[in-house]
């Protein structure tokens, strides 16, 4: 597979492509495609001026950052000063951000150019991209099907080539699920590796910001740009800057790769058949594939929805319509309201032990099982989403919607990292291979993704 990001960066650095031309190309593509795909809900009016400033710096021979001139879309729940950060909700439709999130400061410092805010499921509450108050997003890789969610806009923007890279957030699979459905690369970093300061919470103990890219190199590059300790955050990990690019092409010969029979039990056979083929290719590349036990994997789903609802209920109490925005319960969609009401119900004093504490115990169980499995192998591979995306507009039950998250949630509950790459297709619809690694083993995950990408 072509490494488009590496080639583009090289073209910008060698002055064959100017940052201004790159931004103009992105803007033209957005103007042409966004009406149908709806991946962007706000554009940055200053993008061209920022590109011009960078171009002047390059002409002067000034030192440029590692994202120099690349166009970047940002999920609409990450604060970008001066742009409307709406969480795709009427609650915040008039909220113009007062500050940059820490990850945005780091992107700006690395000379990346933010082209706009991406669409998403309202307040990241969804797995389909259909709950945005600004209209649903189409799937460029399988038109007429859902792109997945909640980072629907970033995945669709990358799949349609509207910009070079995007940032999304992943609480229970919100980066990996749409990356799988749209056939792009998505990485959910270890909890605490990437600063969350400036992210509008869904569930603070699970949320993590991560990159979308058309290729593994781009994901590694953007992750390098945003990862690392933030002294102002209480859950930051004590990690200084890491290079993921250096070992990207090291190959996977001799690597121990785990896969679980549980995946087959939970997954559509058509999807599993594509994943089996991908695992065969990893074996051909010299990896040793072994079985690992994850006996309670599916119990992560109920535990996640209980924990997330409590945290979301708490996080939304500030949306009371006084300091900014509108009162959330007055204007939000059904799924957001369902999660708020569920969180309120579980948070009642009399139910705390029965529901919330029980869910936190299941979280411990899932975490211990994944850690034990990862003690025996370097990474665990399997399907990302257990079924194919439904058609846009098709009505499915709430519980059928939650099933999309079965295989991605455990990564968040355990706080470890995971990445997704397109493994193949079923009837023209992309199917993503998920690679999960130990805490802070993003390098191993990216190396596995890159080895697979290199043979596509």
């Amino acid at each position: 597979m072509d490494e488009v990001t590496r080639a583009k960066l090289k073209a910008i650095k060698s002055r064959k492509l100017s940052p201004v031309e790159n931004v103009q190309q992105a803007q033209e593509r957005i103007a042409k495609l966004n009406k149908k795909i709806n991946a962007f809900i706000e554009l940055n009016p200053d993008a061209l001026a920022q590109a011009e400033a960078l171009e002047r710096k390059i002409k002067r021979g000034g030192k440029t950052g590692k994202l120099a001139g690349l166009t970047i879309g940002i999920k609409s729940n990450i604060n970008v000063k001066g742009l409307r950060v709406t969480c795709a909700s009427r609650t915040l439709e008039d909220y113009v951000s007062t500050h940059d999130a820490e990850v945005i400061k780091r992107i700006r410092a690395a000379d990346g150019i933010i082209v706009g805010m991406n669409n998403m499921d309202e307040f990241a509450c969804g797995s389909s991209g259909e709950t945005s108050a600004f209209g649903q997003t189409d799937n460029p890789a399988a038109p007429g099907h859902i792109p997945g969610g909640s980072s629907s806009g970033p995945a669709a923007a990358i799949a349609s080539g509207m910009c070079d890279l995007c940032l999304g957030s992943d609480t229970g699979g919100s980066i990996r699920n749409p990356a799988s459905h749209c056939g792009v690369i998505g990485v959910k970093p270890t909890y605490g590796l990437v600063p969350r300061q400036g992210l509008i919470d869904l569930a603070m103990s699970l949320d993590q910001i991560g990159p979308f890219s058309p290729d593994v190199y781009g994901a590694a590059l953007l992750l390098e740009g945003i990862a690392g300790r933030n002294p102002n955050e209480c859950v930051t990990l004590d990690v200084e800057k890491i290079s993921y690019i250096d070992k990207l092409d090291a190959g996977i010969k001799g690597m121990r790769i785990g896969t679980s029979p549980k995946f087959r039990e939970l997954t559509d056979p058509k999807v599993m058949s594509v994943i089996d083929g991908a695992i065969g290719k990893l074996r051909d590349l010299g990896a040793e594939v072994v079985e690992v036990e994850l006996p309670h994997l599916e119990k992560g789903l109920p535990a996640y929805y209980l924990i997330m609802s409590v945290e979301f209920f708490s996080a939304t109490r500030k949306f009371d319509g006084r300091k900014y925005g509108k009162r959330i319960e007055d204007v939000c969609g059904d799924e957001v309201l369902r999660r708020i009401l569920r969180g309120r119900y579980i948070s009642r004093k009399e139910y705390r032990g029965k529901y919330y504490q029980r869910a936190l115990q299941v979280r411990t169980l899932i975490r211990e099982e994944l850690m034990a499995a990862l003690d025996k192998v370097d990474v665990i591979v399997g399907p990302t989403v257990p079924k194919l995306p439904h058609k846009m507009g098709e009505k499915i039950s709430v519980s059928a919607m939650y099933v999309y998250d079965y295989l991605t949630i455990p990564t968040n509950l355990a706080g470890i990292c995971g990445g997704v790459i397109k493994a193949g297709e079923v009837g023209g619809i992309p199917v993503g291979l998920q690679v999960q690694g130990k805490a802070l083993d993003e390098g191993e995950v990216l190396r596995t993704l890159r080895a697979f990408e290199a043979i596509l």
Partner: protein, 84 residues
């Protein structure tokens, strides 16, 4: 209609909670995990205070977001009904 919608969503929210709790009731009782971390960075460093220009800019942006701000940038709030 709004009342009906609220009741319907509330009912479905509670049903999901009950079904989820049933799904995990046979699992062993363990210690609870609140965060995947055990170490927390609770001491923030003393930073340089932001400049007066930055503070003024922030205030201007903040006020512009307030739904009920008056022309002087003061937050206008509804007088509580019970005081009337």
């Amino acid at each position: 209609m709004a009342e009906e919608r609220l009741k319907g969503i509330e009912r479905s929210a509670e049903e999901i909670v009950e079904s989820f709790v049933r799904a995990v009731e046979t699992l062993p009782a363990l210690e609870e995990t609140y965060y995947s971390h055990e170490l927390y960075n609770i001491m923030r460093p003393d930073g340089k205070p932001s400049s007066s220009r930055e503070r003024a800019d922030f205030r201007k942006r903040f006020v512009s977001n307030m739904p009920g701000a008056d022309e002087d940038g003061n937050l206008r709030v509804e007088v509580a009904r019970w005081t009337r």
